[in-house]
Amino acid sequence: MTASPSTTAANAPHHAKTGDKTSGKNSGPRTIGGRKLSTKITATVILLVLLCAAVAASLLFGARSVSLSAVIDALRSFDPENGDQAVVASRFARTIGGLVVGAALGLAGAGLQGLTRNPLADTGILGLNAGASLAVVLSMAFLGATSLNAIMIAAFLGAAIVMALVYLVASVGREGATPIKLALGGAALAVGIGAITNAVLMTSKATLGQFRMWQIGSLSASPVETYLAAIPVVLLGAVIVLATARACNAVAMGDDTATALGFNLGRWRLAGSIGIVLLAGAATAVAGPITFVGLMIPHAVRLLVGSDYRWLMPVSVIAGPILLLAADTLGRVIAPPTEIQVGVMCALLGGPIFIIMMRSGMKSVSL
């Protein structure tokens, strides 16, 4: 219980330059920064337990209820003839998908928020998903891309181009790339990209049929091999983004301080961006565009373990899948016999949370 005060040192005023605008009451550092090591470990353990629960729920619950023993049987010795076990197999695929995609999106969001000191950063809000969508549609419609690798490469390129464009456009002007300029620019570009995507889809009903299921953001559309194929890319992206954690901590103290501490910010941001694009592109390629996960997860995790990115980033990897699996499972049971796709669930859950964060004047979201 006698944690030294030095553990708080890492929590330099996070988003300091964005603070105390809308009301004076937020002027104090309300961001929960310095967590004791024991608190961090406890939070991590609880999240791991929750993750196990989410995986179990994802395997157990759905339109058709399956007994626990059937799940265990299916995992031990799979029998495709058995109806219950076939259901478990399909749920197994989307559980793997939820783990991979959730981890990728959660970490991508943490990386985006850290490297840009932008509390609103999210792969959906900044238009990365829209760019990936357009690239995927173009490759489907004009290059006849059907293989996962082709779709994934297209998604990377689309996400990377939009990310570069949004930052380029937002950094014009005196104040540089402020959070709201980025958010508005991303939203506006997403509208434009969406119009072009629609235009391409208009020309082909077949592509529309294939695409409208993908575009909604769903874990039920792909076989387990697809998700497994995305794992190496996600791992690579994760290693790169996790390596930027110290740079993110420095950036939290302001660009000047980070530079003074010896970080070449341009280089770190470029490297981090590559990792983020790998994560977001892989997630979008296998599950379609899913918004708000990358926004919600880092904020929630920050409340639990504080704003030290060396903790925040790995814990986001655990928390992302919890949200995605919970949303997916909820979408399966909320309106039987139909399913509500995970992309819709995340948007419906994330939108209100975004607004609550904004309204409560949480320091990290006030602009």
């Binding site: 605008k21 709201i180 620019g185 570009l189 629609n198 575009q215 953001g217 948007a347 419906l348 994330g350």
Partner: protein, 369 residues
């Protein structure tokens, strides 16, 4: 970027520029100010005339060079009131109503976008970006795909959806007290949620119905009728005649800042509600008929501002919107020989570079947020 530091800049730059010069400066610069004001008025007039000419030129061009090539003589006969089998139908029941609906829709969207942009002092805060447009779209898609309404009832839904979303965003942003960034962010979040809803409805529908709804979502004036044109004309006409003049007067006061406006005797909250209602209604009426034509609401205002080298003139933005749609319609019919693209595809594809131009322009002048 703080709201408090940003907004006074933009409002002062807009509202006070001619005034400070002409009221407080000595005689010589008062003269210069008058000259500047006169030049601005001249540019506005010139832009309006150029827009009108472009509108008429592209309308005429479309009548003569629509999708099917028709003999010019027959077209002239039809226009002078004679009946020519085939040609009469194409001109009177297809091309002319299309032009009428397109021009009216463009005008409504242009005015709607310009009102939002002026009020929020941010050229990026057009209704299609901040979620109001998605409200209209989602409600109309709901009416079409779930309830099976394709007639005027879809229009009512679209209008109601836009108003409802605007009301929610307005409420979330502390009743719109010029908390610019808050209103915009709430709009973005709601827009993302509504997009997900639209995606969901599309994925649940049967593929042909989904394709129809999709076509509508892209924005098309291909199936325009005189009936639609008259509904649109009546709705927009009533709003423009009875509500718009009042809102324009009040907007000038609102742009001086809430305190000043209140000191000058304006009921600020009532004026804001009326402005939001008008802006949403002018945008939702066209959306109900044509679908959300991409970028018209977004681009009309900034284009007029660039052409007149001044602020956004609301009426001129309406004219610009109409011209943009008519021009896009001409290209939609003639650009590709084998497929007839919906006009929304053209405005979307050709609007994208302009969009980036508006973003860069807004950011470099410090208006982007």
């Amino acid at each position: 970027m703080s709201v408090k530091t940003m907004e006074p800049n933009t409002t002062e730059a807009r509202a006070a520029e001619p005034k400070t010069v002409s009221c407080e400066a000595p005689a010589a610069s008062a003269q210069a100010g008058k000259n500047a004001a006169a030049r601005r008025a001249g540019r506005t007039r010139g832009t309006a005339i150029a827009m009108l000419l472009a509108l008429l030129a592209f309308s005429a061009a479309y009548i003569f060079w629509g999708r099917d090539r028709l003999p010019a003589g027959e077209i002239l006969q039809v226009l002078s009131g004679q009946q020519v089998p085939g040609t009469s139908f194409i001109i009177m029941d297809d091309r002319l109503p299309r032009l009428a609906v397109g021009a009216l829709a463009g005008a409504g969207l242009g005015i709607s976008g310009a009102l939002f942009q002026r009020w929020l002092g941010n050229p990026l805060a057009s209704p299609d970006v901040i979620g109001v447009g998605y409200g209209s779209s989602a409600a109309a898609v709901l009416a079409m795909l779930v309830l099976g309404y394709t007639d005027w009832r879809a229009n009512v839904f679209s209008l109601a959806g836009g108003l409802l979303v605007a009301a929610v965003i307005y409420w979330l942003s502390a009743s719109g007290k010029r908390t610019g960034s808050r209103l915009i962010l709430a709009g973005l979040a709601i827009g993302a949620m509504l997009q997900a809803l639209i995606q969901y409805l599309l994925s649940r529908a049967e593929i042909n119905a989904a394709a129809d709804a999709f076509r509508w979502l892209t924005g098309s004036i291909a199936s325009s009728t005189w009936e639609q044109a008259s509904i649109l004309g009546l709705g927009l006409g009533v709003l423009s005649a009875f509500v718009l003049p009042l809102v324009l007067r009040q907007l000038k006061l609102l742009e001086l800042g809430d305190d000043t406006a209140a000191a000058l005797g304006l009921n600020v909250s009532r004026a804001r509600v009326l402005l939001v209602f008008l802006a949403v209604a002018m945008g939702a009426l066209p959306i109900a008929v044509t679908g959300p034509l991409a970028f018209i609401a977004f681009l009309a205002g900034p284009i007029t501002a660039a052409l007149t080298r001044g602020g956004i003139n609301i009426l001129l933005a309406g004219l610009t919107g109409a011209t943009l749609v008519v021009v896009a319609n001409f290209f939609a019919a003639n650009l590709f020989a084998d497929i007839s693209l919906p006009v929304g595809v053209i405005t979307g594809a050709f609007g994208a570079p302009f969009l980036i131009w508006v973003l860069v322009r807004a950011n470099s002048t410090g208006n982007g947020g």
